[in-house]
């Protein structure tokens, strides 16, 4: 289990991670979803003690990561598949890890087999690996110490569809045996395929969390008027709860009721649509503000 409590990380005036709280439960695969630069990697780096938290705390299995003796035996970490010495062979990368953790070299062969890296491939230098092979090597490294918790940053990046399916099987099986998996991704369908729970982050803040099903249920109607302030008043008068979202409001009701409320107050609507277009729409809406290259914004300016 991983618990993140009120975590904030600032770099000068820039807040990379802004007061986030969530839990990755054992026995489940938790997908940490957000656009690039949303704060996923920073959060994961704080988890394993590579970056200091400005405020808040992270506990891995009830402990401070830095206080876990020989942490590789308890927590498997893959932060960046490219962060391997280009001059080492794949097998040597695993051997260095196994030696550090005090594992027999037979464990290296087991892991190479698990991620389907052949002897010939394992003997090649990492410089000559494709991104997909590096990811497999990184996953093998994370699993070396037979950990109960896995923290994987963008592990599916660079994998082909078959590779993603393979990883889903691997991680699901791992979670079913009681393991905790937290994996990040900037691609919604990757997370949809693999995760049991989703934590969405945008611009350093958590914008939604829950199972994919509950996230779909929760959505109501996205509505935008020429005057959103009056629209808010109109919705309140009609007893419809809402929250600001992007350039409009997310109303907790059906489109018909929202449309009526607008008509009663003689408001001009610019957009009115049920947000039932799958998680993808939700993801895009929830993270619209956080997107670095927001096309709509760019066009206006």
């Amino acid at each position: 289990m991983i618990t993140v409590e009120g975590l904030t990380r600032k770099y000068g005036a820039f807040t990379a991670v802004d007061d986030i709280t969530f839990t990755a439960e054992p026995g489940r695969v938790t997908g940490f979803l957000g656009p690039n630069g949303a704060g996923k990697t920073t959060t994961m780096r704080v988890m394993v003690g590579l970056t200091r938290a400005t405020r808040g705390r992270v506990r891995v299995g009830g402990h401070d990561y830095a206080a876990i003796p020989n942490p590789g035996r308890h927590v498997g970490v893959l932060l960046d598949a490219s962060a391997q010495h280009a001059g080492r062979t794949g097998r040597e990368v695993l051997t260095v890890g196994a030696r550090t953790m005090g594992l027999p070299s037979s464990r290296v062969d087991e892991m190479l087999g698990l991620v389907s890296l052949s002897d010939e491939e394992a003997g090649r230098r990492v410089r000559n690996y494709s991104l997909g092979m590096r990811q497999r090597l990184g996953i093998a490294h994370a699993l070396l110490g037979d950990p109960q918790v896995l923290i994987l940053d963008e592990p599916a990046n660079g994998l082909d569809p078959a590779g993603i399916r393979w990883m889903r099987g691997l991680l699901k099986g791992y979670a079913e045996r009681g393991g905790t998996v937290l994996l990040s991704s900037h691609l919604l369908n990757e997370v949809q395929l693999i995760a049991d729970d989703i934590v969405m982050i945008g611009r350093g803040r958590i914008v939604a969390q829950g199972t994919p099903e509950s996230l779909l249920q929760d959505v109501g109607t996205f509505v935008r008027a020429t005057d959103n302030d009056r629209l808010g008043t109109a919705l309140t008068d009609s007893g419809i709860a809402f929250a600001p979202q992007g350039k409009g409001l997310l109303a907790d009701s059906e489109a018909v009721a929202v449309g009526r409320a607008a008509r009663d107050h003689q408001l001009t609507l610019v957009e009115l649509r049920p947000t039932d277009g799958g998680l993808e729409d939700l993801f895009l809406e929830l993270t619209a503000d956080a997107q670095r290259d927001d096309l709509t914004e760019g066009a206006v300016r």
Partner: protein
């Protein structure tokens, strides 16, 4: 593809989701040192740097053997001639020991497996010292071999434990200085350039600037360490000078580097 890993669940232990650490021990320091030694030799660059230290040591002894007068083929000369090439290469080894972790970003993995950064750095220092001593052993062995082949009378005279000691101090301090420069700059090229250029530049300035000339033995590492390589007995003042330059050029950068590495965000 069929097998899936089973998370290592401790039987009958701890509530679900919390890690049972009762069976866990800290990684022993000796193991960290062994891993650091392995990492020095498991890349082509590292391996050939080690091999070249041995080969160049052998080459310089061979060249001296062929070029020197027969009467000069004595142990103290052979061992003395190895000091320069080793003194150039060992610091590079020390620099790469730190900077390759940052350049290749393996520090991410290293510090994830051992979150105590001071322990990792001390393991690197210990590994560097072991390599430095091994290099001296190689030099001594090759010098002895050359001496035997030379077969001069009195070839083994004028050798004391202090000569080996001085050589060890010289080479080990170079290695640690390299490590320290690596830790300060965390960049291979920058650290290597700084290591070789800074003391030379400093030396030039010290010699041009008359006011500095008297102080040079106290602040210029090349001047102060000169006697260590010369195979002479050092006076008390000279030892004090060695100590002072060690503080300035090795201990100070090491402290700054330590501070930097402990605080730096590992990217």
């Amino acid at each position: 593809m069929t097998a899936t890993p089973t998370p290592g669940a401790a039987p009958g232990a701890a509530p679900l989701g919390s890690l049972d650490l009762s069976d866990s021990r800290r990684i022993p320091f000796t193991r960290l040192v062994r891993v650091e030694l392995r990492k020095m030799a498991d890349t082509r660059a590292g391996f050939w740097l080690l091999v070249s230290i041995v080969l160049i040591t052998a080459a310089i002894i061979t060249i001296f053997f062929l070029a020197a007068d027969e009467s000069d083929r004595v142990f103290i000369n052979f061992i003395g001639i190895t000091a320069t090439p080793q003194g150039l290469l060992l610091p590079v080894l020390g620099i790469l020991l730190v900077t390759s972790e940052w350049g290749q970003r393996t520090a991410l993995t290293t510090f994830a497996l051992e979150p105590s950064r001071p322990r990792v750095l001390w393991a690197k220092v210990a590994a560097a010292l072991l390599i430095g001593l091994a290099a001296i052993v190689v030099a001594v062995a090759l010098a002895a071999l050359a001496t035997v082949i030379g077969g001069q009378d009195g070839a083994w005279e004028n050798i004391g434990a202090d000569d080996f000691g001085n050589l060890a101090i010289l080479q080990v301090s170079g290695l640690v200085q390299g490590l320290a420069f690596g830790m300060v700059l965390l960049n291979s090229a920058g650290a290597i350039v700084a290591y070789f250029v800074l003391p030379i530049a400093f030396s030039i300035v010290a010699n041009l600037w008359t006011a500095m000339r008297d102080a040079a033995p106290w602040v210029d590492i090349g001047t102060a360490q000169g006697p260590l390589a010369a195979g002479v007995d050092l006076t008390g003042e000279q030892w004090a000078q060695v100590l002072v330059v060690t503080l300035i050029w090795i201990v100070l950068p090491f402290a700054v580097g330590l501070w930097r590495v402990l605080r730096a965000e590992v990217k």
